[in-house]
């Protein structure tokens, strides 16, 4: 390993150094400052005689006399099953005073793409116990389903609720082995210490920490490190899922901070910026994170991802949510106005979506009427919401009886279906039953999205009479 003292330029998070032997692209670099600190970085561009290095911890303290060492390998994550229950920093070093980690394997953190031919299509229903997700935007194993939120909204409570409650129903009676197969990887990317404490306390309270690996890059940790934290988390997840047969749920928060870090590096490299100054390759870069969710044919485990991102000024067309939405298999939207109404969790189902829902539900998986019920709930809620605008102008009296029913439906939907509290764990059957209770406000003919047999079976005659009576 050769040492150089040949730094020619330091700019933002980047260091340029002259070299006299070839250095590989993406290789790991150690820089020793005159004060004796060792900083780590990665080769961003390598040409004959000159390399540019991105320093994870920031370039503070580096001067022209700092020595640069090239480790001759790309960044690796030491992985082992013993990582479960451990807390690591954003670069993968333990910070919980636990025993030293003896790795079984050291894996490249970039991670090769899964061959689409080797994938297995995800279709195993995960019950989160949240009606708006299970009933309307079902999560399945191997899916990547982000939570789109905004500043000041309770997305963390929702993520914790999911991490706590997620189960696969039919396995409940399949013995206790299955339960231990479940692992949570939590990647904190630039969140505040307070938020991080919230997560940690909840993990400790519920005993979830034992089956979790936590990566912590906090708001005051170096920004450049944020580009590696999620990769370390996902490398660990892949190892546990595809080597050790765990069903891994990866929660990454907050992707917005990750993208800010990308932009910072892009700007320092004087790259041609794309939309709003984010680099043009952000789509590819994000895809390399999100696409690491999935199932592989012939392997037991799975990687399910729930990335959380806060939309700057709640704008879903902002490049971060926009590019994310194009890669992930749907999105769960946390809504500000529902939140101020006190709905817990305040999920806005109309803009939310789970693309893998149709294959994960139905006869044998959840219940035969699931798909129809959710479609009908969507349509009815959309109609009710539209009418709210109209009511503001013309008043309730000017609306027909049918319209009034839709208005009532929309209100009851928010109060009974959406609202459930962060500690209520509803089974999918309970969720569907609440759905039927609400739909039974309408006469049978209005339920045009539901199969007629299902109406016969589940429609609650009394409910419509009650609704009729109150309407009169």
């Amino acid at each position: 390993m050769k040492e150089y003292q040949t730094i020619t330029e330091i700019s933002g998070p980047l260091v340029f150094a002259e070299v006299d032997e070839p250095v590989g692209y993406d290789e790991i670099v150690e820089i020793e400052t005159p004060d004796g600190d060792t900083l780590r970085g990665q080769v961003l561009e390598s040409s004959e005689g000159l390399v540019s290095i991105q320093v994870f911890e920031g370039t503070g303290g580096i001067d022209r006399n700092a020595s640069v060492r090239f480790l001759g390998e790309t960044m690796k994550m030491p992985v082992t099953e013993d990582l479960l229950g451990r807390v690591l920093d954003g670069s993968g070093n333990p910070i919980d005073d636990g025993p030293e980690i003896v790795p079984e394997e050291r894996r490249d953190i970039v991670g090769a793409a899964i061959n689409p031919y080797s994938r297995e299509y995800p279709e195993e229903f995960i019950q989160t116990g949240v009606s708006t997700i299970d009933g309307m935007n079902t999560l399945v194993r191997g899916q990547k389903l982000p939570i789109f939120s905004g500043s000041g909204l309770p997305h963390n409570d929702l993520a914790l609720q999911i991490a706590r409650q997620a189960t696969v129903p039919e396995e409940e009676d399949g013995g206790d082995d299955e339960a231990s197969d479940f692992a949570v990887i939590f990647g904190a990317i630039g969140i505040t210490a307070e938020e991080a404490n919230e997560f940690m306390q909840d993990f400790e309270r519920t005993g979830a920490l034992e089956r979790s690996v936590v990566f912590m890059n906090l708001a005051d940790d170096p920004a450049v490190e944020r580009t590696v934290t999620p990769r370390l988390a996902l490398t660990t997840a892949e190892y546990l899922a595809f080597e050790k047969d765990y069903h891994v749920l990866v929660i990454l928060t907050d992707i917005t901070n990750y993208c800010e870090a990308l932009r910072e590096i892009g700007a320092a490299r004087e790259e041609v910026p794309g939309r709003r100054g984010y680099p043009g390759y952000m789509y590819t870069d994000l895809a390399q994170l999100y696409e690491r969710a999935g199932r592989i044919e012939g392997r037991e485990g799975s990687v399910t991802q729930i990335p959380i991102l806060t939309m700057p000024s709640d704008d879903i067309t902002h490049p971060i949510p926009d590019l994310t939405g194009y890669i992930t298999e749907g999105q769960i939207i946390v809504d500000r106005s529902l939140n101020s109404q006190g709905a817990k969790p305040p999920i806005d189902v109309s803009d939310s979506l789970s693309r893998l829902m149709d294959d994960g539900i139905g006869e044998g998986l959840t219940r035969g009427d699931h798909s129809d019920v959710s479609a009908q709930l969507y349509a009815a809620y959309a109609e009710g919401k539209d009418l709210r605008d109209l009511v503001n102008i013309v008043g309730r009296e000017a609306l027909s009886e049918r319209d009034n029913k839709y208005l009532d439906f929309a209100d009851r939907f928010e109060e009974e279906f959406v609202q459930q509290g962060y500690d209520t764990d509803r089974t999918i059957i309970e969720t569907l039953e609440i759905g039927w209770e609400l739909l039974s406000m309408f006469p049978k003919e209005e339920l045009n999205r539901i199969d007629e047999d299902a109406i016969e079976e589940y429609y609650l005659e009394d409910e419509s009479e009650v609704a009729e009576a109150t309407a009169d």
Partner: protein, 587 residues
């Protein structure tokens, strides 16, 4: 390849000068533009994209981590080409035509390793060849000389390659051959094999382009009914995420009546490609009853696979499509999504530090898009037959804003526009194609076909539907202000009819066994049933029946069940007579 000097000069190999992501520069490399090279000790596949003095810039189709200056670059002296021959159907390729199933077994892992290459078609496998020419026949480039049963439903036709001279047949044998063994020999000294190679960035020749007059029947009501695309036509499907682009593309790949489907998954989700791989072998082609996969060729370059291969996958797809077109087939090419392709161009362009055009896209974006769509069309082939390629490109505009460069440049070229609408998608109105914004410029030239093959009055009844929907659009603005009940009765009735058009006719459930495919006859009958309701209802209204009573008849909501009814013709007949009877009873 075809130029003589290539074979004579020995091309010099070079040395890597710098590496930055997928862009590598090499010194001392003697190469032409677009030559394929192998980069580094691992032999990663790449393509020459810029030559400046002694420096050659290469885009690498694989991950470049760990590659450094000083490593060798080897030149193949050939442009990026695809292997054409039997064995392409029922296959799944990456963006540079490496078969993904072969890669899996060669790499021995579910993850895509580097530096592994494999030919696009199996060179070892033997195929049963039957000549269609005999000794003494004269053949020219493009002529069919024999047939191979490639899959259950498709006969592969072996052709004289377009760059041959042609001549008299001196030998033509029936039997089992590998793709590289000569099957027909010519007196010009040329030997025809089942294997052709063709550079992807160059269109395969045809005699001339013709105006298409037959629709690509999609089995989707809004497309067949309102906005048809011709066989040999071009269409774009732009829409924000979650609006159903991919489902629409999948529906077309499944149910359209093309002979061959080439599906290019360009920079999209891995799970979506898996869905196709798992679903298609189980689905039946409505035309032949054979598995859909046996007429399908998949190209999957998912979003996390190397960006340079994403740039080339569109070309790989269209070249394979052209090859099947040359056999006289009607080919449908789906590209999902062309925006990812454009972004790949942008990414490479920005690494080259080219002067950016609009929104950072390279200035040649429009040219590249039109070049791609122009390779579609109805063609008179070299051998005098006809063959077609219909190109359908999904567009993913950032933020769903159609004014961005990729959507705008695409719209200038394509003749069918299916605008997906997030608002419709949010109400779960699928397919969420907006009927006010979409258009098809093929309607007129396809009308004769519809008159002859579906119903004499098809164009008229379609126009009626369009008018009702237009009127609804205008009325809705008033309704937003004053409420529906404030409208005069006839307008209330129009709204009700329009609602059935939307909910019963335009909506179609892609996940329902019956509703997923709707033959044009059924599309017509369903529309006819709604028209019957309309005519009867207005007659009743004229006779003084209140609108509430008319719309309240029991049979009316049954219109919504037409799409999913098992025996649709009986169901619709019965429904029409019920509607008639029940409404007439009111007066």
């Amino acid at each position: 390849m075809s130029q003589a000097q290539d074979t004579e000069t020995v091309r010099e190999d070079g040395i890597i000068e710098s590496v930055s992501g997928p862009v590598v520069t090499a010194a001392d490399l003697d190469a032409r533009m677009n030559d394929v090279v192998y980069v580094g000790d691992e032999g990663l596949m790449g393509e020459v994209i810029e030559i400046e003095g002694n420096l050659t810039t290469i885009q690498v189709y694989e991950e470049t981590s760990g590659v450094g200056p000083g490593e060798p670059v080897e030149n193949t002296g050939e442009p990026l080409s695809v292997d054409l021959g039997p064995g392409m159907l029922d296959s799944i390729y990456d963006g540079v035509q490496r078969p993904l199933d072969v890669l899996e077994s060669k790499m021995g892992t579910a993850f895509l390793d580097r530096g592994v290459d494999a030919p696009g078609i199996d060179l070892e496998k033997t195929w049963e060849f039957t000549p269609t020419v005999s000794v003494g026949d004269t053949v020219a480039p493009g002529d069919i000389v024999g047939e191979v049963p490639e899959t259950e439903s498709i006969t592969h036709k072996v052709m004289v390659p377009p760059d041959y001279d042609g001549g008299d047949v001196t030998a033509a044998e029936e039997g089992e051959f590998t793709v590289d063994e000569p099957v027909v020999e010519l007196d010009s000294g040329e030997a025809v094999t089942m294997h052709q190679e063709w550079p992807v960035r160059q269109a395969r020749p045809a005699l001339e382009k013709q105006s298409p007059t037959i629709p690509l029947v999609s089995g989707q009501r809004i497309q067949d009914g309102l906005f048809p695309i011709a066989k040999g036509g071009t269409a774009a499907i732009p829409g924000p995420f979650g609006s159903g682009k991919t489902v629409t593309q999948h529906q077309l790949a499944k149910w359209s009546d093309a002979d061959i489907v080439v599906y290019v998954g360009c920079g999209e989700r891995g799970n979506e490609m898996t869905e196709v791989i798992e679903d298609f072998p189980e689905l039946e082609d409505p035309k032949t009853g054979k598995p859909l996969m046996s007429r399908t060729c998949l190209i999957a370059n998912t979003s996390n696979m190397p960006v340079a291969a994403r740039e080339s996958c569109i070309y790989t797809g269209i070249t394979i499509a052209e090859y099947f077109r040359d056999m006289g087939y009607d080919v449908a090419l789906m590209a999902d999504s062309t925006s990812r392709w454009a972004e790949a161009m942008r990414e490479i362009s920005s690494r080259l530090e080219e002067m950016p055009g609009e929104e950072g896209y390279p200035a040649y974006l429009a040219a590249s898009l039109s070049e791609f769509y122009e390779r579609a069309g109805l063609f008179e082939l070299l051998n005098g037959d006809q063959g077609s390629i219909s190109a359908i490109g999904a567009v993913s505009p950032p933020g769903g804003d159609f004014s961005e460069p990729v959507t705008q440049n695409t719209l200038r070229i394509v003749k069918t526009f299916w605008a997906l609408d997030a608002d419709l998608a949010n109400r779960r109105h699928f397919p969420s194609i907006n009927w006010n914004d979409s258009y098809s410029l093929y309607t007129q030239q396809l009308d004769p076909w519809y008159r002859e093959n579906v119903a004499e009055d098809f164009p008229e009844i379609r126009q009626w539907a369009v008018d009702v929907l237009d009127e609804e659009d205008e009325l809705q603005e008033i309704v937003q202000l004053v409420g529906k009940d404030a409208l005069p009765e006839d307008q209330q009735l129009t709204l009700e009819v329009a609602r059935y058009l939307r909910e019963a006719w335009l909506q179609q459930n892609a996940f329902h066994d019956v509703d997923t495919f709707c033959p044009p006859e059924k599309t017509y009958q369903m529309l006819q049933a709604i028209k019957t309701f309309n005519d009867e209802a207005f007659a009743a209204l004229d006779a003084g029946v209140p609108v509430g009573e008319i719309t309240g008849v029991d049979a009316a909501p049954r219109l919504n069940r037409m799409g999913t009814a098992e025996e649709w013709d009986e169901f619709i007949d019965e429904l029409e007579s019920n509607l008639e009877a029940q409404i007439r009873e009111l007066y």
